[in-house]
Structures are given as C-alpha cells and as structure tokens.
C-alpha cells in the first residue's frame, strides 16, 4: 500500500497534526515505506485465527458503585494552559 500526498494530508488532519504543504510529499514517502514494511503481514495465513484482544486471560474486575473520587477542581485545572471561572478555556468551537 502506498500513500499519496492527498492521503498524507488526510491522515495528518485525522491525527490533528499540522503539516506544511511542502512537507506532505516527503511525509507520504515515509509513511509509504513503513506501510510497505507492514505488507509482509500479507504472507501470513490467518484463516480461522482469532485476533488477540487481551494479553492476560483474566476476568475483568468490576468495582462497586461508590463515589470515591472528585472534588479536586484545583488538581484538575492546575496544569491547564487557560482556565476561566473553573472551566477549561479553548478557542471558540463552532457547532
């Protein structure tokens, strides 16, 4: 599978990473090379093989429904670049 410039642009946007126009072509090349390396996987016969979904075969622990956390607004906001009146502040979102 090879990636063209437009796909590179799309992937960059999907990942929300700004890539300068002139860098898209080289990026496409790099991504293509990596994907080419992954294409080796096509050699493997995976018929009837279940995908691995949990590394450790254990039962999922389920916690009791108790309020054990929260009321730490100061800690939640302490590292934020911009806060106002207890909220995180971000550039205007248009719906």
């Amino acid at each position: 599978m090879s990636i063209d410039k437009e796909t590179a642009r799309k992937v960059a946007h999907l990942a929300r990473i700004a890539v300068a126009e002139e860098d898209l072509e080289p990026l496409a090349g790099e991504l293509s090379a990596i994907l080419g390396f992954m294409d080796e996987l096509n050699e493997v016969d995976i018929d009837g093989v279940e995908p691995m979904t949990s590394v450790t075969p254990m039962a999922l622990y389920r916690r009791p429904d108790e309020v054990t956390d929260g009321d730490i607004q100061d800690k939640v906001l302490a590292n934020a670049p911009d806060t106002r009146e207890g909220f995180f502040a971000v550039p205007k979102v248009v719906e």
């Binding site: 599978m1 990636i3 796909t7 590179a8 992937v11 960059a12 946007h13 999907l14 990942a15 929300r16 990473i17 700004a18 890539v19 990026l27 790099e30 991504l31 090379a33 990596i34 994907l35 390396f37 992954m38 294409d39 080796e40 996987l41 096509n42 050699e43 493997v44 995976i46 093989v49 279940e50 995908p51 691995m52 979904t53 949990s54 590394v55 450790t56 254990m58 999922l60 622990y61 916690r63 730490i72 800690k75 939640v76 302490a78 590292n79 934020a80 670049p81 911009d82 995180f88 971000v90 550039p91 205007k92 979102v93 248009v94």
Partner: protein, 495 residues
Amino acid sequence: MSELNKLTISDARDGLRKGDFTARDLTDACLAAAAGSEKLNAFSAHTPDRAVEMADAADARLKAGDAPDMCGIPLGIKDLFSTEGVQTQAASRILDGFRPPYESTVTSQLWRDGAVMLGKLNMDEFAMGSSNETSTYGPAVNPWKRKGDDAALTPGGSSGGSAAAVAGDLCLAATGTDTGGSIRQPAAFTGIVGVKPTYGRCSRWGIVAFASSLDQAGPMTKTVRDSAIMLKSMVGHDAKDSTSANLPVPDFEAALTGDIRGKTIGIPKEYRMDGMPQEIEDLWSRGAEMLKDAGAKLVDVSLPHTKYALPAYYVIAPAEASSNLARYDGVKYGHRAKLAPGDGITEMYEKTRAEGFGDEVKRRVMIGAYVLSSGFYDAYYLRAQKVRTLIRQDFEKVFADGVDSILTPATPSAAFGIGEMADADPIKMYLNDVFTVTVNLAGLPGVSVPAGLDADGLPLGLQLIGRPWEEGDMLNTAYALETAIGFSSKPEKWW
C-alpha cells in the same frame, strides 16, 4: 566514604544494615555523581532535596529495624512515570511544565519500601525510539565508548537515560518501561541487566501510556540479584489497572539458587537472522554452552512467526499510540501553541500537536491513525492482531513441549553512534527491536543479561524469555548465566 554510588542494591542493602554507611551517605554519593554527569544527559530533572528527605526517612526506618530491602536505595526514575509534583514530560515538548498531582503505582510502591528518588531520567519521546535521540531533552549518551574512538554512542532506547545512569553509576538502579524492547535493548547496549516482566505484573497506572497492550515497567540494575530485589517492590495487583494481574507476589530473590540442572533451554532457529554479526552469533553459542555446562538441557525450538513480529508490532503499537496520544491537545495540560487571529479549535489542535510532538512521534501517530482508519482496519490492525495470536501460540507450543526458558541475542548489534542512523529510513531503526518485540506481543517476561564485549570493547547482551508469570525461574537461569559469564567490565569514566 567513597564511590558508594558504584554499589549494587544487594551490597548497599547489606552495608546499610551493618551500619557501614547510611542511606544519606549513599544518596549523597549518587547526587554528586548525578550532578557531575551532564555530558551523559541521563537526567531530565534532579530532585536532590526530595532525595535527601527520603534518605533521612529511610535511615530512620533502617534504625528502627524492619526496613524493606529497597529501603534507602537511591534510584533514577524514567520520565514516563508520573511523579507527584515533579516534572513528568515523557521527554516530550507537548507535556512542557506538566507536574502530575499523582504518583504512579510502581513508583509509589518503591517509595513505600523506602527507596530514594534522585530525579527523572531521559528517554525517547513517549518511549518511541531505540536510541534516545527522539527526546526533547536531547539524546542521553552511553558511558561506553568504542576502543580508541571518541564518538558519542547511544545508550539505546527508549529507556536510554535509565541505562546510562545505571551503567555510569549515577544511581544504584533505575526504573524503565518496555513496549518493544525499551528496557532490554538499552540494558544490552550499556552492559547492565534489564527485566521486562509478564504483561500485567506491574501496574500501568500513572505511567504515561505508549501502547497499552504492550507497555510494562521493569527494573534496570547492575546485577540479576538487584533486578530480583527491585522487581519485588514494583509488582503486585492494582485495582486501578484493569489489566493488572491479581496474583501473589513471589520472592524473586529467593528463586536465585543458581541451580538450573534439569532445566530445558530453547534455542529458536528463527533468531539466526541473515547478516547477523559473527560476534553476536558466537556470544549466543557461548551463552548456550554455559547454560549446558551448568546442567541445563539445550533444545532447538521453532518460533515460525518470528519474522512477522516486527511488522505486526509496528501496526499495533502506533495504532494504540495514536489513540493514547489524542489526549495531548493543548486543553488540559502541557503545551498550547500560540494562535493566529481567527484560529479556531482545529487550528489549536493541529498547531499544538505539530509543535509539541517530535518527528518520530508524529510519524507513528499518523501511521496509527491510518491503520485504524475506515477501509484499512481489517487489512492492517485486525490482521496484525491475528498474527499476534499466532506469535503467542508459537511460544505456547514451545513451553508446552517442556521448555523453561528461551535464549536469544538481545540486540542485533552493539551500541551505535549518536546520529549514525539519522539518514537511515525509520525501519532500519525499528530493526533494533527484532529480538525483543516478540516478547511484548506475547506478553511474556524477558531479561537482558550482559554477556561480553565485542571487538570494539562494547557490551553485548543475551536475552532469556520465560514462561508467563515465571519471572523467578527466568531470573534464576539469568543468574546462572551471569555467574558463568562473570561479566565485570565497567565503562571508563570520561564524562
């Protein structure tokens, strides 16, 4: 008291109890070594005040009597571990200035047992790399140099700062994390011991996530015994991590009898790769012979899907990473880009992440987004997870046939020069993980043991892979190997 920083954990433990020195003495020696190690660039943050405070508390516990083994042992902590109130950035600009209001489970257990934090250690950004060159702090430098060559070498990665700090005696031991080989490869590059436990042994809570189904914390130490001691403090069930195993914590050190008579060691033929340096081939054979001499039985085994481990890993790890790293968006913590007039939320995301992430991280996040995207999920992600099942089944078959541990080289080469791979394509760098990555995919324990020096005088390591949850048995074999090899070389101090 001189050179206390060069002690092993076990020697320090005994010395502290005999009253030969105090935890404060030990800590002071390490702090001095760390302070004079700028050229190694191993530390990303020093916490001397905290270290002294913790050392004094450790001395009080030691005096009182029943102090745990790790009490008073000065450690370096990989920057991937959240440490309360102390800069934690995963070596990324995007976490600029982040001070977590919480402590990771693994480190809090080490502090519970009285260990002392010297500071945070350099690493590849978000643990993505094999040479520490992707760090926002700049590369950590290997204390080892090639004979007669002044070129700075990489300590490996991603736990490169940890490896350099332990090998350079800046601390007695360090924490590392291993997603595809990030403990074992740098351990091999610096002549130390590094353990990646069974997936689920160490809680991942509070460790900045790279690839959740692969990440495991582990010790990086000067000896196998030290790893056994430190590992015991790091592991254990944590209800805050749903993937943490609810199993009793064994006494790993007690397993170190050195007696491996009757054990079966598998030698996988698929690890004999084309173009493998003769030195590594010889090292591997020598290691196998030593285990045989110690009474183990050698058997040739086959792990037929080995060659697909690396491509499967480079689908799965970036896929998980692309999702795990979505939270770095400039809203809640860390870096936010300066915006131009009229910029909206999308521009904030795109500029923040473009500025905050380094090239390798960006590459992997984008690859990860691509392999999960609509129309490609089955072809890449799902296929890779199926291949992963096959890789695990390979190991299960070998273990079911009675193999106790598998012996392989740890890395395909010795440490390389910083910048040497700059022009190579990313895949060449990825090949560093070729012997280690299968272990992460299968969720198994692995350990890298220093096994000798190459012609340039650089350390090389051998890897032992154990059965799930059998770290004790695996470490005992590693201990037997370590004893037989008698590796005692140290880098000459130049920094």
